[in-house]
Amino acid sequence: MQDALRLLGNSPWSARLGMLVVLFYVVVAIFAPVLTPYGESEIVAAEYEPWSSEFLLGTDNLGRDMLTRLIYGARNTIGIALITTVLAFLIGCVAGFLAATLGGWADQAIGRVVDVLMAIPQLIFALLILTIVGTAIPILVVVIAVLDSTRVFRLSRAVAMNIVVMDYVEVARLRGEGLWWIMRREVLPNALPPLVAEFGLRFCFVFLLLSALSFLGLGIQPPTADWGSMVRDNATLITFGDFTPILPAASIALLTVGVNFIVDWFLHQTAGLKDE
């Protein structure tokens, strides 16, 4: 604990800024109903009202309060992206550890499937699948998680490969421990640092992919407030010189920048990736 605090004290300004940003988003997302003056999809005025004391950021294309939608957007977009990333890690890590621990044909089989999945660009693949199976949120989460787990698989397998040849894994095997026990108690704790950094990066990718899909009209569907679709719905305002529609996009950018700053610092801390 003391180590962690000292590390925090030595962190560069970019990492601190990142942590501050992430903390801010988390607070906003959790306390969304308290912070917002109106309901998530409540129509409160005419379309495209300008900024005023009543509607701090004006209203959107259907007359809903922009600020309220922006705050609820934090909750929905970040929440869904987080669930997706966690699912991607569950699938990717289990597959990666399995491939490394079992080796042989299991490793080959999983590896080839992943190769093919990675050969198709994610956005195109996601568009294709969502056209066919529709865009309900659970489907969206599973599709993106499966596509993204291929990247997690690559990393977790590479890391686990170096661990399964260690003596303590050999000992555990001789002791007669099961596959699951070895993966959970021997491999996982030793593979954790690079996986934590990867989690941050993957979250950014998932978050950006999800926003891109929503922006294209295929991600999170209305009336759920979501940053990507908010930009698309109100984009016409930009041609009149109003920058309100850019705010949701800026919110996306700020969060990913924050997470990236933290990951960058974390990678410098964990050995092996220092380049200065």
Binding site: V116, I132, C204, G217, V231
Partner: protein, 318 residues
């Protein structure tokens, strides 16, 4: 020499196999539809006769493997089938748009590649200096931006407030070359900004990785001039990673094009794909999706082959 040829042949075979599997996935994905295509398009209310007629028209009454062979055979002969939405031939729909997309990708790459390589090499050479740190922060930030954020900022500043460029890029065949370039500047600039950051960071990492190797240190200790070290010793080995970086980013460009085209209403393939996805025009989605996937796979394949062909260790075997 034979070793190189076998490796290249292996890569090519693997690439073709991947393409084949991808086409299989794209085609069979539709089979996952609950019910089938007809219900998805005609709706539940369609009478039995219309459904039967429609199925015959789309050849849905044939078994899947026969349809797949017919579909793939058609594509290889340049026949992509017909759109469900407007019954037009997909080749006709894709023709002009394909050139527009390639045009956009080409002018973005023409600016982005030299710029990124130059900046990346500079950052590697002046590593640890304020310039390097500033570049690190700036590129890290711009990697994190969604494409549409960059695009709308550019529209707001350069198109709406300054009025320098049009915010909508309607490109037609009747326009002259420079007029088309002028109208494509904003989408191209967006793509460039997104790709340069990636490419630059990867170039920097590749060069730094190389400069740390023992033989460079040896050359340094021998007292060779810096230019000679870089040109004669570092560059031949850096070629493979740099080519890799460039091609991977070109592949990324192919996908980034989709969102940028939608923002600027640019009449390219990406726009076509998104329109087809919205109207669930599945044959068009399959054809454009296959095209994007094929471009992506071929570019990655090129990167692999080029890095084998430029690898000094393979070119001069002991």
């Amino acid at each position: 020499m034979t070793q190189i040829l076998t490796m290249v042949a292996q890569r090519l075979a693997l690439g073709l196999l991947t393409l084949f599997v991808v086409s299989l996935i794209i085609f069979l994905g539709v089979e996952l539809l609950p019910g089938d295509l007809t219900q998805a398009i005609l709706g539940q209310a369609a009478t039995e006769e219309t459904v039967a007629a429609f199925r015959r028209e789309l050849k849905l009454d044939l078994p899947p493997h026969e349809r797949y062979v017919a579909w793939l055979g058609g594509i290889l002969q340049g026949d992509l089938g017909h759109s469900l939405a407007n019954k037009r031939a997909i080749t006709e729909l894709m023709g002009v748009r394909l050139w527009n997309t390639l045009f956009l990708a080409f002018i973005s790459a023409a600016v982005a590649v030299p710029l990124a390589l130059g900046l990346g090499i500079l950052a590697a050479l002046y590593r640890g200096t304020p310039y390097d740190r500033a570049v690190n922060i700036v590129t890290l930030s711009s990697i994190s931006f969604p494409e549409f954020f960059v695009a709308y900022i550019l529209i707001l500043v350069l198109a709406v407030q300054l009025g320098w460029f049009p915010s909508i890029s309607n490109i037609g065949e009747e326009l002259g070359f420079w007029e088309r370039v002028y109208r494509s500047i904003l989408p191209a600039l967006t793509l460039t900004l997104v790709v340069v950051a990636h490419m630059m960071r990867m170039t920097r990492a590749a060069i730094i990785n190389l400069m740390a190797s023992p033989y460079i240190e040896m050359a340094n200790l021998k007292g060779l001039p810096r230019v000679r070290i870089i040109v004669r010793h570092a560059l031949p080995n850096a070629l493979a990673p740099i080519i890799n970086v460039v091609v991977i980013n070109l592949a990324y460009l192919v996908v980034g094009v989709v969102i940028v085209e939608v923002v600027f209403v640019y009449p390219g393939l990406g726009q076509l794909l998104i329109d087809a996805v919205r109207t669930r025009d599945i044959p068009v989605v399959q054809a454009t999706g296959l095209f994007f996937a094929a471009a992506y796979i071929l570019l990655n394949l090129t990167a692999d082959v080029l890095s084998i062909l430029t690898n000094p260790r393979l070119l001069h075997p002991r």
